[in-house]
Symmetry: C2
Subunit: 470 residues, 2 copies
C-alpha cells in the first residue's frame, strides 16, 4: 500500500480512525491491497500519519472484526482473502403497494370498524399517561407477567364478572393485542388435530388467521338465533367459534336453550371446546346485556375472548381471553415464554382507567350516544317506507339490512357508491362468497357517523336503491 | 304464576323492569313457572303492579331475547322449555401458579433481560405522550397501515440505513410486538415445508416459537465467528436464523468472508433465506458497528429483524422486520388482514422520539454508560487473576465467561447463589442441554447493575468460585 495516497481530513466530523478504516477497506475492495499483503506497523503508520498508535489500532481492529485483515503474532497485519463483494446501493424506489387513503369520491361511509371520535376520553387518558410515567417510573421498565400486568387482569376480571357474568379469576386472563392475536395463541395452545367450526357467515379475521395457520376449519350455518346446532358439521368439529351475544354480521342473539345445548355438546367429549367471541356485547340498547356463555360453563369448556376495540378504540390494541383452568395450565407450560405483547405503559393506563370507574362511565355515555344513532338510523329507514327488512336486534355498532328491490349485493354497493355512500356487503363473511354476492344483504356501521350524516346518507341510499323502482 | 308474590322495590337502584325480569327468570328456573304456562298480559300485569306497560314489555323482551319466554301472535307470552340450568357461582379461588417475585436471597443479579433504569428518558417520553395526545387527537383513533404507522416506518428505515447499513425503504418494514411475534409472522409467511437452521447455542425464544408451531428446525454449530458453515445441517435447512453482528450467547462477530459465503449459500436455491437477528447491535464499544448482513444482500435473500428492547426497554414491546421485496408482496397478499399489534399512541411517540434525534442521543449516552460498565466488569475479572476466559467481543449487554476451576455450569450457578449472586448458564440456549450443563460457561448481563454493584458482585463470585481452589 502506498501510504502517500492517504489523505486524512483532521477538520472532518468523521474521526481519523474511521477515515483510515474506510480508506484501507476500499483499497482492499478495489484490489490495491491484495491477499496476504502486509500493512504498515502501528508504529511506522502512526509516525507517518502523525496520529496516535491507538488511532491506527482502532482502525485495524475494526478491519479485523469485519474480516478484511488479520494479525499474525510478532509478524504484523495482513490482508485476508476477500471474495468479490457486491457494491452497496441504496435504492429509494417505492414499491407499488396501495396504502388506503381517504376516498374523495365518498361523502358518507358506513364503516364497521370505527368508533365515535368526538367522545373519546383524550383528556383523561392524557392525564393518566402523565400520572403513570410520573408515579411509576421504574416499574414501567419491569417486564410484566407473561399473561399481562396482574393489576390490569384483576380489573378486567372484575369488569367481566360484573357486566358480563363471566366466571373467572385474574389468573385465568391473558392479555394480548387484538382478537387475531388471541386466536393465534389459541391455535398454538390446542392440539394439532383440532377441527374448528366457524359461523358462516362470521367474523372473517378469525377464519383468515386459522387459514394462515393451515388449521382444519368447517363452516357452520347461522340462523336468526346464531350458530345452528342442526348443521351436520357440528359433530365433525371439536372447537366451535361463535359470538352468541351478538352474532356478527347477522346480529342474532342466542337464546338460553341453545346456549345450554352448546354447553352440553362441549361436555360430550373431552377435547371439545367453545370459543366465545363477545366482541361488542357492551352495546345493547334495550333490556340488560345478555350474560356470557362462559358464565354457564361449569366444566372448563369455554374460552372467552374480547377486546377494547369497540368499547374504546381499535387503535389501543388491547384484547383479553379467559382460559378454562385446564387450558391455562397447558398455556403456562407451553407458551409462557411469550412476553405479553402490550406495552407496559398502556397496561398501567388502562388499569387506572378501568379501576377508577372511568371505563364504566365511558360505556354508559357511549351506549346512550350509539343508541340514539341506532334509533335515528332505524327511524330514517322505516320512514322511507320501502321494502327493507332490518335484521338482528338493537345491539352493537352496525345493522344488517335486506333490501328487497331486486338488486344483488354488488348492485346495492355499486349504486350506493354512485351516490357517494359507502356500504358493505356480507358476502365477505361467508365461506362460499360467490353465491352470497347474489343476496340483497347490506351491513351499515354507524358508530363514527353523526346523526346528521346518518339522515343525509339514508336519503342518498333511497335515491340509489329505489329511485328507479319508485 | 301467582302475581301476589311479586315484591317490587321502588326505592331500589335496580330498575323495576330488571326486578320483574329477575323475578320471572327465577320462577322459571325453579319451575314455579312451567313449560307453556301463560304469563299475564302487559295490560293486566301493568294494572296489577301499577307500573307502565313499557316496563312490563322491557322485562318480557329481555326474557324473550334470553329464550326464557316466547310470544305467540294474538295469544300472549308463554314459558319456553328450559333445560336444567346449573347455578351460577363465582369462585374466587386462585390457581397455584407461581408468579416470579423479587428474590430476597439475592444481592446481585447479572440478569440478561434488563436495561439501565436510571437513564431511561422518562421526562422526554412524558412530554411526547402529552404532545401526541394533544396534537394528534383523532388520528390516534384511525387504524394504522397494516405494516405499522408509515411515518414510524420511515424513521426506522432511515435509522437502519444510517446506523446499520440496512438497504430498505419504509415499505419493506413491518412493525410488531417483539422478536417472537415477528418470528410467528415469518412462520406464517414462509412455505409449510420450510426447514429452519438455528444457531446452537442461540436465542431460545425463536426456537420455542418455532417448536410451538411444530416447524422443522435443525441445530447448526456456532464457533468464534458465529454460525459455522461447515455444519452438515446447513444444506438440509433452507432458512438460516442467526445473529451475525453479535452472536447470542457466545458474542462472536461474523467476519466479512463468512457473511459473503452465507449470501452465496442463500443465492444457491430459490427457497433459501437468511433471517438476520440484529438484536443488540447498537452497543459496540470500540470501532464502528459492523454493518448488517442485509446490506450485503442484493438478491432479496435476507429478512432483517430487530427491536427496541435493548436500545430503549423490553417493556415498550416494539420490534420491526425488513422484508425482501418478493416476500413483502407475499406478506401483503397473505397476511395484510393482521392489523399492526402496536398501539397507535406508542407508534406516534416512538416516531417523534426517533425523528427528533432523541433516540440517537439516547443511544450515544447509553453506549458510554454500558461501555464503562463493560470495562469495569472486565477489569474486575482480570484483576482477580484467576483462570477465567472472557469470550466474545466488546459489544452488547452481557459477556460470556469460561471459568476453568473444575466446576460445571450447575456448580458455578449454585455456588454463586450461595454467595447471593445470580448468574446464568448458557445450556438453556443449546438444543442438547444435558451435555452443556457440564461445561464451565457463565453469562453475565450487566446492563442494570451499577458500577459499585458490579465490583461487589465480582468479589462474591471470586469467593464462590475460587475460595476453595485458591
Amino acid at each position: 500500500m502506498n501510504m502517500m495516497t492517504i489523505i486524512l481530513d483532521t477538520k472532518s466530523k468523521t474521526p481519523i480512525y474511521r477515515q483510515l478504516y474506510a480508506y484501507i477497506k476500499n483499497e482492499i475492495q478495489i484490489n490495491n491491497l491484495i491477499y496476504n499483503q502486509k500493512l504498515p506497523s502501528k508504529r511506522k503508520f502512526s509516525e507517518y500519519l502523525g496520529v496516535s498508535q491507538n488511532t491506527i489500532m482502532t482502525a485495524y481492529t475494526q478491519l479485523m472484526e469485519e474480516g478484511y485483515i488479520s494479525s499474525k503474532e510478532k509478524k504484523g497485519f495482513f490482508v485476508c482473502k476477500a471474495e468479490n463483494l457486491e457494491k452497496f446501493e441504496f435504492k429509494n424506489d417505492k414499491l407499488n403497494i396501495a396504502i388506503p387513503l381517504k376516498d374523495e369520491t365518498i361523502d358518507y361511509n358506513f364503516s364497521i370498524n370505527t368508533v365515535e371520535h368526538n367522545s373519546f376520553p383524550f383528556s383523561i387518558l392524557r392525564k393518566m399517561y402523565k400520572e403513570v410515567i410520573d408515579e411509576e417510573d421504574k416499574t414501567l421498565l419491569q417486564i410484566s407477567e407473561v399473561q399481562g400486568l396482574e393489576e390490569l387482569r384483576v380489573s378486567i376480571s372484575a369488569y367481566l364478572h360484573d357486566s358480563r357474568g363471566v366466571n373467572c379469576t385474574a389468573n385465568q386472563i391473558i392479555i394480548s393485542s387484538g382478537i387475531e392475536y388471541l386466536v393465534q395463541l389459541i391455535i398454538l395452545l390446542l392440539k394439532k388435530n383440532t377441527v374448528f367450526g366457524l359461523e358462516n357467515p362470521g367474523y372473517e379475521k378469525s377464519r383468515y388467521i386459522l387459514e394462515a395457520n393451515l388449521s382444519n376449519i368447517l363452516p357452520i350455518q347461522v340462523d336468526s338465533e346464531g350458530m345452528s346446532l342442526g348443521d351436520e358439521n357440528i359433530n365433525k368439529a371439536n372447537v366451535l367459534f361463535l359470538s352468541p351475544s351478538h352474532q356478527f354480521p347477522t346480529g342474532g342473539i342466542m337464546p338460553i336453550n341453545r346456549r345450554i345445548q352448546l354447553i352440553n355438546w362441549a361436555n360430550n367429549a373431552e377435547n371439545r371446546y367453545i370459543i366465545e367471541d363477545d366482541y361488542d356485547s357492551e352495546f345493547k340498547y334495550s333490556g340488560k346485556p345478555i350474560p356470557s356463555l362462559q358464565g354457564l360453563d361449569t366444566n372448563n369448556k369455554v374460552i372467552y375472548i374480547g377486546s377494547f376495540s369497540k368499547s374504546l378504540s381499535p387503535t389501543i390494541r388491547i384484547s383479553y381471553m379467559v382460559l378454562p383452568k385446564n387450558l391455562l395450565k397447558e398455556y403456562i407450560e407451553k407458551l409462557s415464554f411469550l412476553v405479553c405483547s402490550v406495552p407496559m405503559i398502556e397496561q398501567k393506563v388502562l388499569h387506572r382507567y378501568i379501576s377508577e370507574g372511568y371505563f364504566e362511565r365511558h360505556l354508559n355515555k357511549m351506549r346512550k350516544i350509539y343508541r340514539s344513532k341506532y334509533e335515528i338510523l332505524v327511524h330514517c329507514i322505516n320512514e322511507l317506507n320501502r321494502n327493507i327488512e332490518i335484521k338482528g336486534t338493537d345491539a352493537g355498532l352496525n345493522i344488517l339490512l335486506k333490501i328487497n328491490n331486486g338488486m344483488t349485493e354488488e348492485d346495492l354497493i355499486k349504486s350506493a357508491l354512485q351516490n357517494r355512500v359507502k356500504v358493505y356487503g356480507i358476502s365477505t363473511y361467508y365461506f362460499d362468497q360467490s353465491n352470497c354476492k347474489k343476496l340483497p344483504n347490506i351491513l351499515l356501521g354507524y358508530a363514527s357517523m353523526s346523526e346528521y350524516e346518518i339522515k343525509e346518507a339514508i336519503k342518498c341510499l333511497d335515491k340509489a336503491w329505489f329511485h328507479n323502482v319508485s
